[in-house]
Symmetry: C2
Subunit: 235 residues, 2 copies
DNA sequence: CGGCAGTTTGATGTTACTCAATTTAAGTGG
DNA sequence: CCACTTAAATTGAGTAACATCAAACTGCCG
């Protein structure tokens, strides 16, 4: 396995950048001993609810998601993680998470010893800034999904999810011709917006018939963005 | 209007305590000039989405809630606030909130100048700890409500909300005979769990018929806690 | 070519919404 | 203390949205 660089490949992004810059004593070419890498296969469990972990994870490459598993087999996907994302801000302060997380695609993670991260928070104001940003983004995202789940129809929720993911992707890379790589099965969409995968299929089919979007084999092609926004925006 | 004490009456609770202890130079008997009080009537808007504010608010007395207003008149209640609660951790770092908040009952607030709060974060590790706790509690609460909204039936969601509020109340005061003051209209419950108030009324009526709970004029009396938990717990 | 996971489609069932009327509770002024 | 007013809660009937069950179809990989 080859890593693109010794430290976190996404150090340009918020949290990872602050964390690594906070250790001035460690040159970028050396990986400090309180950091380690880990790869994960699609579907592999990364965080298990209630299971204590010494480490805080940042997603370096691939997609992952946080979720809450119910005993009846159903699960709620709480949010999707893209490269550079922290596996929840709370994980920095709580060793026993109240959620689970798993990889969606082949993924690479950076694990940081929690005690080290906390120590750096106390010393480096940039860490606080980065964590605050992460916290704010998570809260906004959670508030939005909650509103969609509680107040909007199936079509609106699915459109909302697409728009939200498109934003996350666009914040990280240049988009050409309104094509987005979304490595999701319809079941993932269903688990995120609180519908059955059957109904998700129907709604996506409807969108397709209306010339709104095309979604297959992990690529979302937006054909009528204004209309998608009209349906999916929270306002 | 008389305030129970000069500084925040709930300084024993997390955030407020850390904030006020962080200013060693100010004796408790004096109110520092970067803090002010405010009262709010039931239904009064405290935070307006997208409207910049210099202050960070803590609820001192009464109930309030955060919500997201949609243009079609519907709204999602994101969470309820009880005395001692911060009006969202993100408000400490972002001056332009992406949510609104209003008082549910007669309420008293403590407003703190954001710049002062941030400065104290940089200097006092206890502030970070308090904010981290607040952030963690908010995230857990949001994850739970999201799971309830996405994956559970009307009965389960309402039972979940009751249990969750009972926990919040129990964390602040001693409960006798399973009686809880919940100053909510059924419309608030509906807006929180994503149902119509008509359906909330039906479900509560059902619960009443089953001898599960009694809920009227702002008091919840739990008659069969194990059964309520069986229905409403996320597990 | 066969097997498998994921998607699509159809038929039917259930949950929760809508609309509208009625009842209850909580004031308010005489 | 009693009419009157108003907001909230309850009840009923009809409907829409989404779930469930099951079968057929598609694309992919060995």
């Amino acid at each position: 396995m080859d890593w693109p660089c010794v430290t976190c490949p996404n150090r340009k992004f918020g949290f990872c950048g602050a964390l690594l810059h906070s250790s001035e004593e460690t040159p970028f070419q050396q990986k400090p001993n309180w950091q380690h890498y880990r790869a994960a296969r699609p579907g592999e469990q990364i965080i298990v609810r209630n299971q204590v972990s010494e480490d805080v994870f940042v997603l370096c490459d691939g997609w992952a998601f946080r979720f809450f598993q119910l005993s009846n087999g159903r699960r709620q996907i709480l949010n999707f993680l893209l490269p550079g994302d922290l596996f929840s801000t709370v994980a920095v302060f709580e060793e026993r998470p109240n959620f689970s997380a798993q990889a969606l695609t082949e993924a690479r993670l950076s694990g940081f010893r929690r005690s080290e991260v906390q120590a750096r928070c106390a010393n480096d104001p940039r860490m606080i800034t980065a964590l605050a940003e992460s916290c704010a983004a998570e809260t906004d995202s959670a508030d939005g999904l909650m509103t969609a789940l509680g107040q909007r129809s199936a079509e609106e929720r699915i459109a909302y999810l697409f728009l939200h993911l498109m934003q996350q992707i666009a914040a990280r890379s240049v988009i050409r011709e309104q094509r987005y790589r979304l490595p999701l099965r319809q079941q993932h969409i269903a688990d995120a917006v609180g519908l059955t995968s059957v109904h998700v299929s129907r709604v996506i089919g409807l969108f397709r018939d209306q010339g709104l979007i095309e979604f297959s084999s992990g690529v979302l092609q937006v054909l009528n963005l204004p209309e998608l926004k009209r349906i999916g925006s929270l306002d």
